[in-house]
Symmetry: D2
Subunit: 380 residues, 4 copies
Amino acid sequence: MNRHQTVFLISAILLFAVIASAQNLQARKEISIPDIPGYITLIADLHTHTVLSDGYVHPAIRPDEAWREGVDVLSITDHIEYQPHKEWIPTNHNLSYKLAKGKSDQLGVMLIKGSEVTRSLPLGHYNAIFLSDCDALDVDDPMDAFKAASEQGAFVFWNHPGWPREDGIPVWEEVQEELFQKGYMHGIEVVNTRKYYPLAHKWALEKKITMIGTSDIHMPIGMDYDHRHGDHRAVTILFVTERTPEGVRDALDNRRTAVYHDDILIGEDKYLKPVFMNSIEVVTPEISIAGKGHTLLQIKNNSDVPYKLKRSSSDETRISYSDEIILIPHRTVLVWINGRSETELGRFEANLEYVVENLYVLPETGMNVRIPIVVDHSAK
Amino acid sequence: MNRHQTVFLISAILLFAVIASAQNLQARKEISIPDIPGYITLIADLHTHTVLSDGYVHPAIRPDEAWREGVDVLSITDHIEYQPHKEWIPTNHNLSYKLAKGKSDQLGVMLIKGSEVTRSLPLGHYNAIFLSDCDALDVDDPMDAFKAASEQGAFVFWNHPGWPREDGIPVWEEVQEELFQKGYMHGIEVVNTRKYYPLAHKWALEKKITMIGTSDIHMPIGMDYDHRHGDHRAVTILFVTERTPEGVRDALDNRRTAVYHDDILIGEDKYLKPVFMNSIEVVTPEISIAGKGHTLLQIKNNSDVPYKLKRSSSDETRISYSDEIILIPHRTVLVWINGRSETELGRFEANLEYVVENLYVLPETGMNVRIPIVVDHSAK
Amino acid sequence: MNRHQTVFLISAILLFAVIASAQNLQARKEISIPDIPGYITLIADLHTHTVLSDGYVHPAIRPDEAWREGVDVLSITDHIEYQPHKEWIPTNHNLSYKLAKGKSDQLGVMLIKGSEVTRSLPLGHYNAIFLSDCDALDVDDPMDAFKAASEQGAFVFWNHPGWPREDGIPVWEEVQEELFQKGYMHGIEVVNTRKYYPLAHKWALEKKITMIGTSDIHMPIGMDYDHRHGDHRAVTILFVTERTPEGVRDALDNRRTAVYHDDILIGEDKYLKPVFMNSIEVVTPEISIAGKGHTLLQIKNNSDVPYKLKRSSSDETRISYSDEIILIPHRTVLVWINGRSETELGRFEANLEYVVENLYVLPETGMNVRIPIVVDHSAK
Amino acid sequence: MNRHQTVFLISAILLFAVIASAQNLQARKEISIPDIPGYITLIADLHTHTVLSDGYVHPAIRPDEAWREGVDVLSITDHIEYQPHKEWIPTNHNLSYKLAKGKSDQLGVMLIKGSEVTRSLPLGHYNAIFLSDCDALDVDDPMDAFKAASEQGAFVFWNHPGWPREDGIPVWEEVQEELFQKGYMHGIEVVNTRKYYPLAHKWALEKKITMIGTSDIHMPIGMDYDHRHGDHRAVTILFVTERTPEGVRDALDNRRTAVYHDDILIGEDKYLKPVFMNSIEVVTPEISIAGKGHTLLQIKNNSDVPYKLKRSSSDETRISYSDEIILIPHRTVLVWINGRSETELGRFEANLEYVVENLYVLPETGMNVRIPIVVDHSAK
């Protein structure tokens, strides 16, 4: 059997050198979430830091990281009031944007100018993006900062609403109500870093403000996330009509967003439903079953999201099927379908009814889906 | 910075459990090579063994492995004359097919009945596929076996033509000429296991016989290939008009095949050219350059093949560009484009001219490609 | 910055070709669990199948898989009463051992002859290992089979005690009591495949029978476990005085075993405590703290087991420390230690007190550990 | 077979959550190269950059990266003369060290103060380490800078000697001879980034100056190296008598170094020989062969270096053995040994003679090794 043991070094070299190469490290690995009818799906990280406030990288690193990780839209939001490096880097609120712009343009990453208003509780932290001059926010009274942001037409969202509270649970205090009433708060971070705030999710739905998810990254991102190997930062998914800053702004203003955090997608049913349906492909939509026998249905998932399906109660009396399915990203999996009768036979349409547990359409609550198939049920 | 250090165990659990799960191990990972105009691309392994001859697995294992690895068409070709387990497994040439059929049908793997005629040099080994009765090949005179195969309408190809010769180099002897003249030999293994035979490649082109690549697997395939992690068996790529045994046979008969071996595709330009062009996407087909400045072009590769491009000589006087590119599978890479003049400016179409070194259109010889772009060349 | 972008293909080739090579696929990856004082630690899988009963591989595959996966001791235990392939493979209970012996010897895998007595409930399935003649167990009355095993000096254990019961929960019925009283049952599978039976764990401790964990593998093992990438089959850990069949038998007879299942070790405190202590290394056993400040302790884990530590209640008033630690295999992790006083200072010995949640010394119950350190506590 | 298909999600969760966790990302993965008799083996990177010159990270990032990657000794060597960020970060040559010191101390990374003298050709770039005041090197005449370094007792080495020459080939010009003669140059980079300079290797041996390998990293290191997955930066291996700055300096002064670059170790035979011998373990040092039969020898490699052995010519007439072996890191591989005679039998000691092709004891020249075994050669 010597032939089969030939050391295949030469050809292996060709394959694996590639994978190891500099081009690999510098390549872009997209986040695969499909477009939906009427909208292009973009990936945004609207909360990041650099050495210009309390971060640890040069601003030009952020668009480079973003490009490699499949982030289309980026905002650097250095703190206005918190400048721990100012002894050796003089404060300049507009500089992060300027230093990151060249790399962003070169790589086609859309860079949105922003700043973080950084106050103690009960106010907390807020990102203002789509700013023209960040310096205008460096004022004593926080309300003046929000006013300045408003005058520049900024989009403002509340950051990590439960932090730095002892118990991590956000509280909607009087001051938030004031901001909201004045039209100064347009969105809220439902996810910050690796932390999900169900209460923020609830408020976003109730008060009709935009759901945001951000990395709030301070370190080189590779020190916190292993994006080449299945990990990713928290991001905001934008459903835009055009791939421009105006398109981004329109999606934010009209709450056409979702949040992608670990393996969870958070958003409204009207957006997550088509995301799910456009992600999957029933490879074998017509199946044959003999009597009470079983057959295997094949479902492929073309997205990066590992959809976790749990069977919901169903009136279906003619077939039974797998209680749980995990639709592994970029794989085809098998679903068991069993006939329930030896006598009530024929050809019919049926729906596999599941809850997708990691698609949150309400706080910590999965989304119902129906996957249509055709069954040709014959006698055994 | 405590907030950023929160152990994110709970959510990580959700992500990674998935990847580890049984569903993952049992999922299908396709080989991504695109369809081409007019044809569906299928993946075939037409040479495998089981315990019924000198292999080490039950026949039902082969369709299961094939399904998981993205192989659409499978033939089990146990040896007629070599039956080392016959002391405890009585010889039965039709049994492998029978024992593998149920699993093949269940998973939708197309199973083609076959056998390996196994003789000593100078004749060597041959697979006959599309057989109806393998027993008919169990005869003394090998020519009678080929005759029997012919009478059943089999497709016959010469296996590992350089093996077991001392130097591994195939020789087209009188007996091969006889088989060829009689119309008994329709194809040849250009790749067997991890071994490529350039001479077989040359003969296939000259004599117009079909190029075949096979695993010739004897062991459980996971002991020889790590398919979940970037490795794959050698296969034959079929360009079919329909996903049926007839479609497969038609592609074989009409030499619409290629061979995929490690990271090399072997085939005719008329098939590999559209495979390449359908694999890649120039993300930014229109670029702007100022004077002798540079810009970055983005190219995405949607296939599994890591195309290795080396610049061929070119008459292009207006721009220069990267000498080497590796188009990493499922990634977007950057290509440097430089202006060559400060004065001859304007908008023009240009072609990036490369040899794709791992697409062999002739023995060990890459394929020329031209990637069209539009350049808007302005003054600095 | 061109210099830093040099394509480093040549050297990368050297590195990664290696990792891809056939030698890699055929190499042995040990399961790293340390020896303990007085005993050598061996890895055993005492329950596997082949085509000789209802498995799917040739027997010689089992020692090859075992060697590659770091299994030192192997038993092939084909069913006596269940022979679904007998139409084409005539029943021969001693043949699996014979066909696997050559490969086992060649690779140094210790092969123990065995068979599975396979009866319906309430009796169930039992492995008899250290047999000399498996045929003697092929008798009508199951008690005669146990008697025959006993006469050959076999070691007998109860397999998957909760299967195939509807609820998966084992029941110790009259017949098990009979076997136990007669001295016919010496061990019990606490883990079978990927299933842990807490009740079997309890019985093993109460009745002083040996804890066993097995793969019960039927398929090529790579189809069920991805051992090259962090996965492993369930095994029995043996603490032996010598690396011989006698040493193995002595460990089994004297209940010097543990079970390794996913990332859980199951066994008695007297064995798991030294396994844990020999796995870890406190890289910085002496630390300095100023006042209520903090310092980082480094702990390295040289084993394959990801120990998960949760702080237990402690009387320690001078320092506080991380509530949870995961000691990642073959990595060094950081533990936060804080001073609790600005005034009660000095140099002292302290113990970090944790429960290791994935070391089960009782059913689903972790093991208490104390990690000694020296603290030099000075004023801020 | 339903039992074997149970979804094992719960236990998988335990295993894989661990691997994914923040603790994993923040854990230290050592570079495994063994100690040698008389010396402790340390890993050093003596050439790195930060935002204080032309790098892209805050200085505190460098010790954090070093710790995670198993680097014991670190020097930040920002350019004296090249300060591209000085418009917004005022020049301060001593600041990188100061900003990195706290994190270094916290993690136990030994930080050596340094600077890079950065001049145009023919002089080029030089790192001076073990400086007390970097400002003293900021002078017009480069010789004054070397003099100042010398007065502070610095250790000075020539960086990337072939860069930025057109052809990449270093030239030892008059000015290098002057530095060398004056005792101003104590070492030379044999490897910088991913580039090996054979000529620098030759000079180091001839002129008895110290061989250095460095990353010269400017970016967050994770953007250029995938250290969690088999990649690593170029480093200097130090053979020290004590783990202190004095120990490091002593090893540098006495040329007890090697360079680790991709999968190549570069150094003198007297150091690489014991590194190799302490890395490997012949699992089965005594083997039995019958006549001209074969047997399998098992060799384990406990280091990170994939040693590539090619058989050298040998007078051994009694046995033949594998022409090529790759000793895969942390794996055991098999070596074929064949008897060459049926008649000259007996027990004897033999040496397997190989060149380790990726241990360079001279420029691009492997190291000869002899692996002793005992053969018990009996009649067939």
